[in-house]
Symmetry: C2
Subunit: 349 residues, 2 copies
DNA sequence: AAACATTGTGCAATCGATTGTACGCTTTTT
DNA sequence: AAAAAGCGTACAATCGATTGCACAATGTTT
């Protein structure tokens, strides 16, 4: 057994612990622990000696042990539909910036819009004893039992962008209705009247809100919207293409799309059909995906201010930590989206 | 103090532990632990009783405690320059798929190409006692001390896409030289001769390889490449624009760009200058960012097979875990990139 | 000078799960 | 029938850091 150990030790070199430091200085481990935390009852010489030895061996505290004892892991779980959506990676960036500065790290999970993945991600994060979960619910999520289990277990919960309506907790969302309203208002100002809407699934709150904004703007402009002007499609390229082709006989003047990818689909289908965008057809999207700036013509869209959203959610959490309050006392904030006007909707005279 | 506790207890409801289960069944905690792990020495009735009670209370093992005892956290750290680059999010997706199936979770850190962030990310992951670190080094990383500390502490290390050349460990990279070679070969086949290269910083390995591939293809075609044909630029839009404008008097026939964003810059500048792409100027990029398929004309580029890369790295790690070997015994795999031919480089006759 | 306050440190319990060893009981072997 | 083997469970130590309490040594008050 000893001989075997000789092979194992060099490969799994053990980390330095406070006990190693304590032994070297002939003090107790508790003194080392306190010295490293600048506890006032530790004398200046001892504190310095401890820190010197710790630095010498590049001591790294074992956060696993510390988490276990303190019941806090200094880790925050983030659950997003997918990280490669520009908006979500912006949000994560915003969170990371604030949280890293306060010594927290992020554990990021993707649901790919599947409820099953969301449930298991929450389980994972509970097991890891994260201090909080930042969640943007998946499109399949209509049952909230798994989400409710978080506050029940003392884990703070915050929603961003997509909230589960009836759970009372801190959240930051963007005013989707307003974003849609501004976008459609802009199309109206450009002279487009027969504006159709490629909507997302109505059971998804954000899409419902976008539709409401569309209807409000049209209503205020005194335009009656027949139900055929609203087409529910998956917010992907094919959705836009299919919507365009089934709308041809209505001869729409513009499209307000609930997502950038659908808008892209419309644009490509329209150009293939020989239409000039924006002259023959105005198009606006939603989300400000990076490609919207690069395509020809560039796409008017709505920015959801992901980075700010991320840092606001992180800020809420840090405030809770500081004041030792639960997340259900936090506010529900609503950010104003920003309309980015580009070429796909502006008629040059 | 007691009164205060009354307020605190309902908010921080304690998690169920094996001791709670043990008490309810009048067995010891070790029996519960073994029963849950299907240890053969636990009798069938006991095992079932334990599992029933565990399910009743929705018991979730505390992985923090388990990690501390077992010295393994079932967590893998991933360090990437930025998660919103399509390639990296694909890699992460590929890793996640395999690792989640084996019960591992991911801790994702971004360096934003800064060495300082890389150092602190590694520190974070060491503290969290991750079982392995998957690393794609930042552009600023030329000192590898912080990276070497990982295997020294018994943490497995794997590189993907960008490896630190002199560290012996498992890695999966794409053959950048070959990708560049194929891309330039394709331009040559299309009849372009005066092909310029917008290179990345030469001290970055991937960019150096891409330049080598370019030179090899040109050389084999018998074309002498004056140094003015190679322009080193940041691989962003502005880099491409600036390269284009300073190349005008050379009258290039095509550009092979080391990145998609630089290619985009070239394309936009060229069109602004009244050139037709691909007729007057062929353009190819590198990375297969999603926007490359949407722009007009669509951009020929090289796909780095991120998802496969991610799952290969994850597979290497799982194999190490299974066989209990260190990561320095693993192979250095090289993936063949795929040339995606689109409109920006194909001259229709 | 006795009583008290302050300072610096160590002891030991704790967080929750894991695991080597021991022990009592039953079954099998000789 | 005695010895050996197998089974099922409990005990206690362990992972590393934290923290309430105890206690000795020193300083301050009356």
């Amino acid at each position: 057994m000893y001989a075997f150990c000789n092979f194992v030790i060099p490969m799994r070199k053990t980390h330095i612990t406070i006990h190693d430091i304590a032994r070297e200085l002939n003090v107790s481990a508790s003194t080392v622990s306190r010295a490293l935390q600048d506890h006032p009852r530790i004398s200046e010489p001892t504190r310095e000696a401890v820190k010197r030895v710790a630095a010498k061996y590049n001591y790294q505290p074992n956060v696993v042990a510390s988490s276990l004892r303190k019941g806090s892991s200094k880790t925050v779980g983030v659950i997003v539909p997918r990280i490669n959506r520009n908006f979500f990676s912006k949000v994560i960036g915003g969170m990371e910036e604030l949280l890293a500065a306060s010594g927290y790290h992020l554990m990021i999970c993707q649901t790919h819009e599947k409820l099953g993945n969301e449930v298991s991600a929450i389980q994972t994060l509970v097991n890891a004893r994260v201090d909080a979960v930042m969640l943007s619910i998946s499109m399949e999520t209509f049952n909230y039992e798994h989400i409710r289990s978080l506050p029940e277990r003392g884990i703070r919960l915050f929603f961003f962008d997509r909230a589960a309506g009836d759970i009372q907790t801190g959240s930051v969302v963007v005013d989707d209705r307003l974003g849609a309203y501004l976008s459609v208002l802009h199309l109206l100002e450009q002279g487009y009247r027969k504006i159709m809407h490629i909507a997302g699934a109505d059971r998804i709150n954000i899409y419902k809100k976008r539709k409401q904004g569309y209807l409000q703007a049209m209503h205020e402009a005194g335009i009656e919207v027949p139900s055929s002007w609203i087409m529910e499609r998956n917010q992907v390229q094919e959705g836009g293409e299919s919507a365009f082709s089934s709308s041809i006989k209505i001869k729409p003047e513009a499209f307000f799309c609930a997502g950038d990818f659908a808008a892209l689909g419309v644009m490509q289908a329209a150009r293939k059909a020989g239409l000039n965008v924006p002259r023959d057809l105005g198009i606006t999207g939603f989300a400000n995906e990076p490609f919207t700036a690069f395509i020809e013509p560039s796409l008017t869209t709505v920015d959801q201010r992901g980075a700010e959203m991320g840092s606001m959610v992180a800020g809420m959490f840090l405030k809770c930590e500081e004041e030792d309050t639960t997340s259900d006392t936090c506010e529900q904030k609503v950010l104003e989206p920003e309309l980015i006007i580009r070429d796909s909707s502006v008629i040059h005279k």
